[in-house]
């Protein structure tokens, strides 16, 4: 990656379930477009936003596009840090096993597949948010 003096730390906070409103889908659209700008990008999933990462999503019955595969492709866009809040999962009876296995290929280690999902607790999440320059909340 070329030297980029305008490089900032972007954090996209996803707070809403995937199909009840358009926020999750349009947040992803920003992430994908933003990938071309060579910024340092991370995603956070809190509150109902953790539902966006659920494994086995099936939208056949609601007539809406299933965009969940896009999260698994984020590694190809150099988006490799997805922070999931532990409390938000447990409050909804969920665990990491219920989420899609999202990975990226590490070119520095012979393209080994590594997990993009990182479980963090609420206190850590506040530190992650504070450590970013640009916070976009959806």
């Amino acid at each position: 990656m070329s030297e980029n003096t305008n490089r900032k730390k972007f954090l996209y906070i996803n707070r809403k379930a995937p199909y009840g409103s358009i926020y999750a889908l349009e947040s992803l659209e920003v992430v994908l477009i933003g990938a071309a700008f060579e910024q340092d990008v991370s995603l956070a999933f809190i509150d109902d936003g953790v539902f966006q990462l659920m494994n086995g999503q099936d939208t056949a019955g609601i007539g809406m596009k299933n965009f969940s595969k896009t999260y698994r492709a984020l590694g190809d866009y150099e988006v490799r840090k997805l922070y999931v809040e532990r409390e938000s999962l447990s409050e909804r009876g969920l665990a990491l096993d219920d989420l899609m296995p999202i990975t990226y290929e590490d070119e520095n280690e012979d393209y080994a597949e590594k997990p993009s999902l990182h479980l963090v607790d609420r206190a850590e999440m506040t530190q992650i948010i504070a450590a970013h320059d640009v916070v976009l909340s959806f």
Binding site: F10, E26, I33, G34, Q39, V135, S137, F138
Partner: protein, 130 residues
């Protein structure tokens, strides 16, 4: 300070546009710079010139257009979000084969890159939404 502002909700249903407008006005009065106001999600509905609110109420679209004119603001409407919701400028209406356009003066339609760019260029990006 140089601010970027994002409006994520439509007018009247939600206070986001009102709050963003008051914030922008106050920031300008204090001598700050507004690098760009970006309208996303239902926020694109702030940009239709066809709204006709009751006369004893504020007209948010006109307020934004007037503020843009007075301070040479860059009001950008996301094209993907706008097309979903029927907000078209003359060029786009023609391209899509529609018989009319509705983008208010002072607004322009452009891509999501303008939002990322605002995040990069501004000292603070402030989002107003749900």
């Amino acid at each position: 300070m140089r601010f970027g502002i994002v409006v994520n909700e439509g007018p009247y249903t939600h206070q986001a546009s009102d709050s963003a407008y008051q914030f922008a006005k106050a920031a300008l009065q204090k001598g700050h710079e507004i690098f760009r106001v970006f309208f996303y999600h239902d926020g694109v509905n702030n940009a239709t010139r066809l709204t006709v609110p009751p006369q004893d109420d504020r007209n948010l679209q006109q307020q934004w257009s007037a503020l843009a004119e007075a301070h040479n603001l860059d009001l950008v409407v996301c094209i993907a979000a706008a097309q979903r919701r029927g907000i078209l400028d003359a060029d786009e209406a023609k391209r899509q084969g529609k018989d009319s356009d509705n983008l208010a003066r002072g607004f322009r339609i452009s891509g999501l890159g303008q939002l990322i760019d605002a995040g990069i260029q501004a000292d603070r990006l402030v989002m107003f939404g749900d």
